[in-house]
Amino acid sequence: MEPKNKQTRSKADKILKILKLLLLGMLLIIFALKYDAFNSYLISNAQSLTFLSFSVWIWVIKILSYTVQLLIDYLILLVLTENHRFPTLLIFVSLFFLIIGFLLAFISQKLGTQLPITVSSFFVKLVKSQVLLILFVAGYIVGKVYKA
């Protein structure tokens, strides 16, 4: 009787996990659509601000955008893994790569060289186009395979 109960429970857990992922996906899509509108509103109103310079305001918007992006990645991985360790590692790695990307972009701008641009854009793209999230999800799958 007990193994049967265990089997039913694990099946129910799997279904719940899929439902949670679907719900999260739907919420994120709705959120992303609204966020795009919010972002364009912030950018279009950036010129009219008198207490903050335009470049500072753009930086604030950029940081906000990356924070939201990281939060979304964290939530997706949290629902998938049901463990906060792996998603937290993703956040730290993402932040590390973002800092490297921005530093390289800053250095290339200061030196006036073109070489680090592809490298810096790679680090930013890792986070922005969710490549890092995909690598982490694949890492989670690999972990499950090795555990089994």
Binding site: I29, A32, L33, Q130, I134, L135, A138, I141, V142, G143
Partner: protein
């Protein structure tokens, strides 16, 4: 003492299959994006892939609509320009990322090779379907073009690819765990 401790920790991290996989897949992605994709893949190849995606999308659309044409990377329905397929939309970059993931997994080269080819086919087919659906949405003046273009397709594509990867890695690891009959 501290150095030895750090070295031991590093050894444990390297021996952990998850961290090893993450490290390798990241290094491969770096090599792919900075060296291979930027320097070695010619624009002519990217254009050829766009041509093939466009041709298949045209075939899919011709089942539902009349007067489908594809020229200069543009897809038309009944003379109306519906979709332009650019280089970032041809799927080559996704093919590279998924190859990095497969290559970083510990498996025989033969298995990696056939699975990479299978993934390329899946990406190509799904991309053609996406272009056809997007063109149909524009033609029908549907409001959901943006959401489909930006989010839904990416979720579907990566969802399918990661499910395939999960199934493949499970099967491969089971096969390799089997004892060899003497």
């Amino acid at each position: 003492m501290l150095k030895i401790n750090m070295l031991e920790k590093l050894k444990i991290l390297i021996n952990n299959p998850i961290y090893r996989f993450l490290f390798l897949s990241f290094v491969y992605s770096l090599i792919w994006d900075i060296l291979l994709y930027q320097l070695l893949i010619p624009v002519a190849f990217e254009e050829w892939v766009i041509e093939q995606v466009g041709a298949l999308s045209r075939l899919i659309l011709s089942m539902a609509y009349a007067g489908i044409s594809f020229s200069n990377d543009n897809l038309y329905i009944g003379g109306i320009l519906c979709v332009h397929i650019g280089i970032p939309c041809n799927g080559v970059e996704t093919m590279g990322i998924i190859s990095c993931i497969i290559l970083a997994f510990r498996a025989a080269w033969f298995h990696k090779l056939w699975f990479i080819l299978l993934n390329y086919t899946v990406i190509f087919l799904l991309n053609a379907v996406r272009v056809a659906v997007l063109a149909a949405l524009v033609y029908e003046r549907n409001q959901s073009y943006e959401i489909n273009h930006k989010y839904i397709f990416n979720i579907v594509l990566y969802g399918v690819l990661l499910i395939l990867f999960a199934l493949w890695s499970q099967k491969i690891s089971k096969q390799e765990a089997k004892p060899i009959k003497s």
